[in-house]
Every structure is written in C-alpha cells, then in structure tokens.
C-alpha cells in the first residue's frame, strides 16, 4: 500500500495544516510517513507545495517524483496545474476552484488561463477528480481561512482511505481553541460538497 499526496496552493491558505492532519492520520494508522514542504515565500502570497508520502514499506525521498502522486489537492487553480504532472493520470485530484491572480496578471502583463481551458486541460490529463468551491463555502461560513478544512471534509468523502471520525478528531485536536467549532462545521460542509 502506498498513497502519495501533493497539496499545492498559495501562502496563507492553510496548506501545511492540511498536510499535518493527513500525515498524523496515516501515522496513527501505523503507516510510514514522510514529506516535505516548500515554504520559502509562503507568507507573502508565493506558491506553497507540500508532499505527503504514506506507505507500508520504507520511503526514501521526501519528494514525490513525476507521475507518482495518487492524489493531488489543488487549493488554487494554477498552483494545482503547476504540479499536475506529479499526478499519476490514473490517480485523482481534488480542486478548490479559487483563482488568485499573480502580480503579473494584475498588471495585465500575463494571462490567467480561462475557466474552460483550465477544466478541459485537467480533464484531458486525469479523468478522476472533483472540483469544489471550498473557499467560497469557507467565506459563507465566515472565514476563508477554513478552505483547508472544507477540502479535508471533501477528501474523506472522496477517498475511503481517509476515515471520517479520526480525521475529524485530528482537526479538533490540531485546531487552536477559538477555531475548533468553526473548523468542525467547515469540515462537515466539505463532506456535503462531494456527491
């Protein structure tokens, strides 16, 4: 058994928290876990990607190589595309349809690809996936910073490997006191977003 997961997004979206919940869940189930984070400019709106590797055998590299990811979680659209080719086309993706323009997009010097182009590109690459609006739901629930927890909710619905109860307990355990209740609500909402 192996499950290689890439989570990509923009600084401030709670990428690292999501990767910690996933890693701790797998560790508690007795798997070997390894991973890596690229967090260089994370606090300033740069790209952030974390790799989480789960296996019942020894894991060497903390990074997932091309075509090896079983699951790609995109917290932002082009950040998911940037790491798309790490995903095994037979694997699955979970995309938060949130588009955060780059500085050059804002200046009108670079084009952010259009919705149709994006969705078609993704579908051509991988057939199995879910596109949800986690940030929008988090915003409705009062705080866009809960995007990560909404996505975790969707994840447990989508992948039977992630069991609902233990993941929810971990979110509760790892959330700061004042966010616990809201995070659990956001997690539940995430589950409803996946058919």
């Amino acid at each position: 058994m192996k499950m290689d997961i890439v989570i990509s997004g923009v600084g401030g979206q709670g990428n690292i928290f999501a990767s910690l919940v996933i890693s701790q869940f797998a560790m508690k189930k007795g798997y070997i876990v390894a991973g890596s984070e690229t967090i260089g400019a994370a606090q300033r709106g740069g790209s952030v990607v974390s790799h989480v590797r789960i296996s019942d055998k020894a894991i060497y590299a903390p990074l997932i190589s091309r075509g090896q990811a079983d699951l790609l979680i995109g917290m932002e659209v082009i950040e998911m595309l940037r790491h798309m080719r790490l995903l095994n086309p037979q694997g699955a993706y979970l995309l938060n349809f949130m588009r955060i323009p780059t500085v050059l997009n804002n200046m009108g010097l670079d084009e952010y690809p259009g919705v149709e182009e994006i969705l078609e590109g993704i579908r051509k690459y991988c057939k199995n996936g879910q596109v949800i609006e986690a940030t929008l739901e988090a915003h409705k629930l009062g705080n866009v910073q809960m995007t990560n927890v909404v996505l975790l909710g969707a994840l447990v619905k989508m992948m039977p490997f992630f069991e609902m109860e233990p993941v929810r307990n971990l979110i509760e355990e790892l959330s700061p006191e004042r966010f616990k209740e809201a995070n659990i609500k956001a997690f539940e909402r995430g589950r409803e977003l996946v058919q």
């Binding site: 390894a34 300033r44 894991i59 060497y60 903390p62 323009p101 500085v103 670079d110 690809p113 051509k124």
Partner: protein, 611 residues
C-alpha cells in the same frame, strides 16, 4: 524512553543537540535553518538566542565551548560566509566542549539570494570535518555524533543539511534527555587561545600561526580514521561496471530513482568529509565508471579524482562538473536522466505522463496585502521618479519592491550591503539623490557598521530604515530592536533616535500607513547634506494580525469606476495584489475578498476613484 515523532528535519537536529547535552545555542534566522534554533527553546539549563548576526552567534558558541560546555551555532549558507573570518581562527585553536556548526545550504536558491555549497568553505578552506545528512533521522544521529567527535578531536564539527533535509518531514526517534551535566569551568591556555603572530621558543622561534596550522594538519589523519569507521558511509554491492555515489541528499534521490531501474547498480553512500579512502577504493574495485550525485558543486567529485590520481586508480568520474547539471537542486528525474545517458543499456521503467495543455503563469513574490512597506515604497517611488534618484536595496520583505510591478530598488546583494554601496555610489560622483533601503533586522545584523562609516565619511545619502520590529521574512524572530528575547522574555531595545544623535546624522520618523507623511519626509531628506535617516516605524502587519492587534481601522474601500482613467499608478507604483487591471474595460478592479481595508490605495489614486 524512545518515542516516534513525525517532525521536520530542523526539529530533529534541535532534538539531537538537546539529547547531546548542548547548553548554548546561538544563531541568526535564515531559511532553511531557522527552526533549529526555535526548537531548541524550552529545555531547562539551555541558553538559546537569536544573535545579532551569525559571526556573533559562532563567537558565543566558542566562548561557551572554551568553558567545557557543549554549544551549537546555527545559520544558513550566507551566514557561513559571514563567519568565515572567525572560522579561519577557531579551526586553528580547536575547541573544548563539543561545538557543532550547522551550515544549511539551499540548493536551487528556493529561499535565498544566491546558490552555494558551503562544504567547500568549511572543509576545503578551513579543514573542518563535515557530516552531510540524507534524511531527518540521519541528521539527528549525526548531530549527536558530532558533539562526541568534536570533543574527541578538539575540532569544530559541521553539519551541512540542505533544504530537503531541513524541511523534510519524517518519523524520528526521540530519546531520553541527559541528566546532571558537568559544570562549566575555564582555565587559560594562552598557547592555544591567543591567536597572534608571536614566536614560539619551544618550536625554535617559529611563529604561532604556523604551529597552529601544523596542529590542524596533523588532525586530518585522525579525521580520516574516523571517516573510515563512520556509520554514515557504506557500500551497497551488486554486479555491474558502473557505480553511483550518493552524498547526503544525493543518496536519497538515488534510492528513490532505483525503484524505476530494471537492474540494481552498485552504490556508495557518503556522509562524511574527509572521505573514507579505503572504502572508496574498495567500492571502485572492478568498476569502470562512477557517477557522483551531490549538492551542489562537484566537490566530492573533485576529491575522488584527486584520490584516484594519487593512488593510480583508473576509474572515470562523472558528476556535477558537467555530466550532471552544474547548478540547481538534484531530483529523481535528474538522477534517472543522467543514468539513462551513462548506461543506455539499462532500462528505466517510468510511467509516461501526458503533457498538460494549459499555460501556467509564474507567481512572483510580493508583500502581504495590508503590509505598510507598500506605503513607504510607494512614497519613495514617487520621490525617486521626480528626482531621478537611485535606490540601493537590501535583504528583507521590502526587497519585493525591486520586482515587478514596482521595480524600485536597483541592487540587492547581501545582508547590510545597501548603505556602503550607496556611499560608494555617492563618491563615484553621480549627481542624483541616492537612497539605501534596509530593514531593521538586517540593520542590526551588518547594516549598522555601514551607517557608522557613512556618518563618519559625511556621505550625502538618504537611508530608509524599515522598522517593523521583527525579522519578518523568516517567520517573526526577535532582534535587538524588538524588545523581546526568543523566549518571549522582555529586554531592552535599541533607540535608533539616540543612535542617530550619537552619530550626528539627521533623523525623521514616519508612519508608513501615511503616504503623504512619508513623501514629505523623503523630500526634506533629499534636500539635506550628509546622512539623512528616515525611520519607517510600524510593527509587521502579518504578525500584528496574528496577535490580534490592529495597526489600522479597517475601512470598506469603495471604487468609483467612472473616475478611474486606467492610468495604472495603483498597479505599477503600488502593486497591491487585491487590485487588478481589467483589460477589456481599461480600468482597475478591487477584489473585496482579498482587500483588508488598510486604505493605502486611497492616497495612491490621483483621481479620487478610491475612497
């Protein structure tokens, strides 16, 4: 009792030091090394500090070591450059209590202004032994051995982790913490610890520097024996004429790549410098060719070539001198592509992935939305445009003002170089206003010397000190202007106004959320002769938000589309990520989901379209 923890490499390194009985840990923040210092906090009897710079940190570590106490100095590669002078002294005197230097490299420059390999500086130049870890768990074990070996050899031991070790996470075994550490004591040994060009009667009048050099050279034999016995070097034998050598993280990528190779290849795993010569000889026996994977320079490759030359061994050595790319980070793909080229007969079983037919824009770094640096930078941009001035930049969050869209700072080098470079430009004779922009952590690190010099030389320059009261870029570490220690304990802070008075330079303080105020101060300072200091004083926005402290009253920003003429000043001279240009309309738009209501853009718009 041993316990498994899923932690970052940096946490594992800190834990290794604590388990080894380290008593003094000093460093300066820098990605990827920062968490090593932070995770050393909270153990009784251990002094942990953010020093004003890395040289200070290293000197503190040696002071402790000479009192027979274990100590650790922590830095990223740029810091190792800063400590070079001290390194080239402590190598000749040696240490008493185990002293471990952590020199973290950042191949690919993921979070750095340059790419370099400090193994060359530490080992080739200073003749200090190095451990090059391949994983968080190995890094922890190496730190523990490094303390023991440092005491046994009386030498500084260096651990050189790369980003992919520091920021990798893995399951690491935490062991018991030591109890009852020996007390500190100091007794002089002037022959060793007074580094000076003095004649030594017991060596026929030879000068001490030569005798200490001889001492260091003699130590190399002991180090070679240690390398030979080291558990961090090993051979994985198998049939074949072509072998691969993996140093540190290079080994990890080789093992990962091995899963895609149809046949195994002989592997030599290396984790120490100096090299285990006997083990190398044993490995290459019967091989025709070896490929070396190391981060980042062809350093071990060169040492191997030298060894084979000295011993008359005929083996072709390929590596990062060209066969493997000579720059950037290694990865599994590079290892596989290299092996494909070296051994065309070997089948690589790697599933093909289809191309992705979508254009992916590059995401460049900028300041946070709501950050006040954007206010002072915008004011400066306006003054520079009017006066045709030049802005010399420095390291820190404000450096994003040098990229698109603002493109304000003209240069960025290393910590503290802005003020001296501005001084040099002034004395070159250019006749436009010259500005140096420096953040406060950088200022206390190395900038302050440049300021003292500029004041002394009466240089006619303008200095902007971005005083956000924290080392923001690396994740909010305190510095001498914060008023707080790493433990959260209050301490004094440098009074910059008094410093300016002492230096006899002009001093102005501005609120960076008030663009008009900033602009007025900058315009006044340009008219002055001599050094003019403008302090942009405001705590870091992001840190304040996290602490629940408001720096401004958040406003609802209204945008009047009719008044906008698409001049793009708010984009090109300001660049808040919440503002974007809508091509079809030839107007801007403000994203209410991203906007935090700081109101800076209100003063930016000349047409009153934002209110």
């Amino acid at each position: 009792m041993a316990e498994d923890h899923y932690v970052m490499g940096n946490t594992a390194i800190a834990r290794g030091a604590i388990e080894s009985g380290v008593r003094v840990v000093a460093g300066y923040p820098g990605t990827p090394a920062t968490e090593i210092v932070e995770d050393s906090v909270g153990y009784p009897g251990v002094h942990v500090e953010w020093s004003s710079n890395e040289k200070v940190a290293f000197e503190i570590a040696l002071g402790a070591s000479l009192c027979h106490v274990r100590s650790m100095a922590v830095m990223k590669h740029n810091g190792t450059n800063v400590v070079t002078d001290f390194l080239m002294h402590v190598n000749f005197t040696g240490v008493r209590g185990g002293l471990v230097l952590i020199s973290a490299d950042d191949p690919g420059g993921l979070s750095s202004q340059n790419e370099e390999d400090t193994r060359i500086l530490v080992h080739q130049y200073a003749h200090i032994p190095i451990f090059d870890p391949s994983s968080p768990q190995e890094a922890k074990a190496m730190v523990k051995d490094a303390f023991d070996l440092s005491e046994r050899t009386e030498l500084v031991f260096c651990l050189r982790p790369v980003t992919r070790v520091c920021h990798a996470r893995g399951i690491v075994v935490f062991e018991d913490l030591p109890e009852g550490l020996p007390p500190a004591h100091y007794e002089p040994d002037r022959n060793r610890f007074i580094m000076s060009g003095v004649e030594m009667p017991e060596f026929g009048g030879l000068k001490r520097p030569q005798i200490r050099h001889r001492w260091l050279n003699d130590k190399q034999n002991l180090l070679r024996e240690i390398a030979e016995e080291s558990p961090y070097n090993w051979i994985e034998k198998t049939a074949g004429k072509i072998g691969i050598v993996g140093c540190g993280m290079g080994y990890t990528f080789i093992k990962e790549a091995g899963q895609f190779l149809e046949e195994r290849m002989p592997v030599l795993k290396l984790g120490t410098l100096p090299l285990p010569r006997k083990k190398v000889r044993e490995f290459v026996d019967g091989l025709e060719k070896i490929i070396v994977f190391e981060e980042t320079e062809p350093f071990v490759e060169g040492l191997l070539k030298q060894l084979f030359h000295e011993e008359g061994i005929e083996v072709e050595v390929l590596g990062r001198s060209g066969f493997v790319p000579s720059d950037g980070e290694l990865n599994v793909q590079i290892v596989l592509d290299t092996i494909r080229r070296a051994v065309p007969s070997l089948r690589v079983v790697q599933p093909e992935v289809p191309p992705l037919d979508v254009y992916i824009p590059i995401r460049t770094r900028t300041q946070c939305i709501g950050c006040h640096y954007r206010g002072i930078l915008h004011a400066l941009k306006r003054v520079v445009r009017k006066t045709k001035g030049v802005v010399v930049g420095d390291i820190g969050c404000h450096d994003a003002g040098s990229f698109k869209p603002m493109e304000l700072q003209s240069t960025i080098y290393c910590m503290g170089s802005s003020i001296p470079m501005a001084t040099g430009m002034r004395y070159a004779g250019i006749e436009v206003p010259i500005f140096a922009f420096i953040g406060d952590s950088t200022f206390y690190h190395n900038g302050i010397m440049g300021l003292i010099n500029a004041a002394n030389q009466k240089a006619n320059i303008n200095i902007i000190l971005g005083e956000n009261q924290v080392t923001a870029m690396t994740g909010f570490q305190p510095h001498p202007g914060t008023g707080e220690l790493i433990t959260g304990e209050p301490t004094g802070k440098v009074d910059v106004q008094k410093l300016a008075e002492a230096l006899g330079i002009s001093y102005r303080v501005v609120n960076p959320y008030d663009i008009r105020d900033c602009r007025k101060a900058l315009e006044e300072s340009v008219k002055e002769q001599g050094v003019s200091l403008v302090v942009s004083a405001m705590p870091c926005y992001l840190l304040s938000t996290r602490k629940g402290r408001n720096l401004f009253e958040a406003r609802e920003i209204r945008f009047d589309e009719k008044r906008c003429n698409g001049c793009m000043i708010c984009i090109q001279d300001f660049g808040c990520p919440a503002i974007s240009y809508i091509k079809e309309k030839k107007k801007i738009s403000i994203d209410p989901q991203l906007c935090v209501g700081c109101g800076l853009c209100i003063d930016v718009c000349k047409r009153g379209a934002i209110s």
